[in-house]
């Protein structure tokens, strides 16, 4: 009888999504508690309503929708980051800057160089969109070359674009914020039917990655290289090329995220687009239960992690914490999460658990 419950417990303990899901549940619980405390509807966190917009459309409205919407960029970035972490045991810290550069490049093409505000697109929208993607991918190639073929530590390699990409973006925009007041451009950050478009874009990105991982053997290649690159090489994998590829993918998604973010504010604000997003993306990967030491990865975990971060941020705002102060709590959460994953701490708890089990055995005897 007891074996049943213990095996269930073991199953739960070894469930890869345990950490991110627990974190998400905790955040939700915190919301409910807060709502109860202030006397609001305890389920207001989960309430989704249909609201009329001034222009007559109907849109979905609610805290969950808001979290899904605002969490889109980090979720998109987390996709690429997960692969990078898995294959190279390092992080790509340039994604925020690359977002900014891609957005700037796209807007510059759409508005024309030196134009700060426009209602009309100078080139077809699709050119701008593809340009953003291409720019992201190009940056990914740069990072990937340095990491995979020059053997430079990922953090150092991506430090270059971390500082340069944003600056180049500024240059591309002639040091100004480029406004594109055009509904077609703004569509990526607005609503499609009742749903915010960023949610749909994130869903498409997630779906693409999921399909690629399912239909090709890329996922296994990446994990294999991340776990043991020597053995993978003997088994016929081209470790360097696979690491390179993960950086390219990561760069591409940075381009996508940049486009979404810029469309949201219908402008290219080089200084602020993607600021600190790399940190959130890395955090999402760690929160998703993925080891930053590389190897096995869990994409679902990273995605849940990304939305959990947004949920934390949204919750903190709901609790009245200002945007600027939120990082304090984020920092504390990060430390707790990594500390409980740290080998010495784990060893300590395992020892205690063993001692306890031993005590039980002894008591039985």
């Amino acid at each position: 009888m007891s074996t049943d419950s213990s095996s269930l417990w073991n199953k739960i303990k070894s469930w890869p999504l345990l950490l991110p899901v627990v974190a998400l549940i905790l955040v939700m619980a915190l919301n409910i508690l807060h709502d109860v405390a202030v006397g609001a509807n305890p389920l207001s966190f989960f309430t989704i309503t249909l609201n009329q917009t001034t222009s007559g459309g109907t849109i979905l409205y609610g805290r969950i929708i808001d979290i899904l919407n605002r969490g889109s960029e980090v979720a998109i970035l987390a996709l690429g980051m997960t692969l990078v972490v898995s294959s190279s045991a390092g992080t790509d810290i340039s994604v925020g800057s690359v977002m900014s550069l891609s957005a700037s490049f796209c807007c510059m093409l759409l508005a024309g160089f030196g134009v700060t505000s426009t209602n009309e697109l100078r080139v077809p929208l699709i050119v701008g969109v593809l340009a953003a993607f291409a720019m992201g991918t190009l940056c990914g190639c740069f990072n990937g070359t340095l990491v995979a073929y020059f053997g430079i530590q990922p953090m150092v390699a991506t430090l270059i674009l971390f500082s340069a990409a944003r600056a180049i973006g500024l240059l591309v925009c002639n040091n100004m914020i480029v406004y594109i007041r055009n509904a077609t451009f703004g569509a990526f950050g607005a609503f499609t039917g009742p749903l915010p478009t960023p949610i749909i874009i994130a869903a498409i990105c997630i779906a693409i990655v999921a399909v690629v991982l399912r239909k090709t053997s890329l996922g296994m290649y990446i994990q294999s290289v991340g776990i043991n690159s020597k053995a993978s090489r003997i088994a016929g994998l081209n470790s360097k090329r696979i690491i390179f590829l993960t950086y390219v993918i990561c760069g591409f998604f940075a381009g996508v995220a940049g486009l979404v973010n810029s469309s949201r504010i219908t402008s290219a604000d080089s200084n602020n687009i993607g600021l600190y997003y790399e940190m959130d993306a890395i955090l999402a990967v760690a929160l998703g239960g993925n080891s930053l030491g590389g190897g096995k990865f869990n994409l679902a975990g990273s995605i849940i992690g990304a939305y959990t971060i947004q949920a934390i941020t949204t919750t903190l705002y709901a609790l009245g914490v200002s945007t600027d102060q939120a990082p304090v709590y984020k920092a504390i959460i990060v430390v707790i999460i990594v500390a409980i994953q740290a080998p010495p701490v784990r060893a300590f708890f395992r020892k205690r658990a063993n001692a306890k089990a031993f005590g039980k055995e002894a008591a039985k005897a």
């Binding site: 053997g151 500082s163 920092a331 990594v338």
Partner: protein, 341 residues
Amino acid sequence: MKKAKNINSNTLLLLITVVLFIALYAGGCIVYSAKGFTHLQTFLNILITNSGLICVACGLTVVMLTAGIDISVGSLVAMDCMMLAVGMRNGIGAIPMCLLVLITGVVFGLVQGSLIGYLNIQPFIVTMAGMFFGRGMTAVICTEQVSITQEINATFYKWANAKITLPFGGYTNNKGKYMAPFVRVEVLIALLVLIIIFLMLRYTRFGRALYAIGGSEQSAAMMGLNVKATKMKAYMLSSVLTSIGGICYCLNTMAGSVQQATGLEMDAISSAVIGGTLLTGGVGNVLGSFIGVLINGTISSIVKTNGKLASSWPNILTAALLFVFIVIQSLFAAMRARKNR
């Protein structure tokens, strides 16, 4: 026959850096001599504006020698500035506030260092949390920009505005007035820090242990060094030096604000790397980092003197330099690996 080649690749890297700096500065002097680039004061101004960065870069070099990284420094500087500004606004004296800032640095470093040294958590993650914490804490202390004026704290104001004139290198300006070159207090602090850390790295057991750990952590442990404690102390030292840097920074800007010193950590890292410090640890020197800071400063100064170039050029040029240095370093590493085969 097995005798060593005397040209050490690390010294060579430092040499390249020095030559580059001189070339850069000379180039600036030639192109912008009309705009006063040749005056000694231009150089001294680079020192004044970057005094905080010099302290921070010294701290980062110490950490990087152990093959670690500390990206919390920028936020810590912002937090220090805010503490100083708000503390003094509330009537606390300049000296107690500076002490408090230093103590904060010790505690901050102690926490980060213990997590890294004793719990074996990756330095990048721990200091990223530190970075969030510092930035957020700055906002918790105060969300607005707080300026330190003469009315708020006369002592601090006096320190910030003290001019220490040099007896040489002056020039007469177009109004016929003799302009004596000067530095400020923070420059003296920064140079003092630089000298102390230089000597510490070279002449103390702790300093040598840092190099040993960076060279090979396993070997260092096998040779009986206390790796964990040394690592912890390295991060403490980094945070303390950052706090000193924070005071220098504040003397320069005379204000505290949430957005202050953003990206300072990356400036410090790139300075150290350009100065020949390897991120893989064990190789580097604060003098190199100092020259790295000067190169960064010179680039900014040239762009500023030009006046027409966009403000993002310094970032791009520094990144380009960083790129060149990293590639050179990786080529050296490949060459060494081949030689040892």
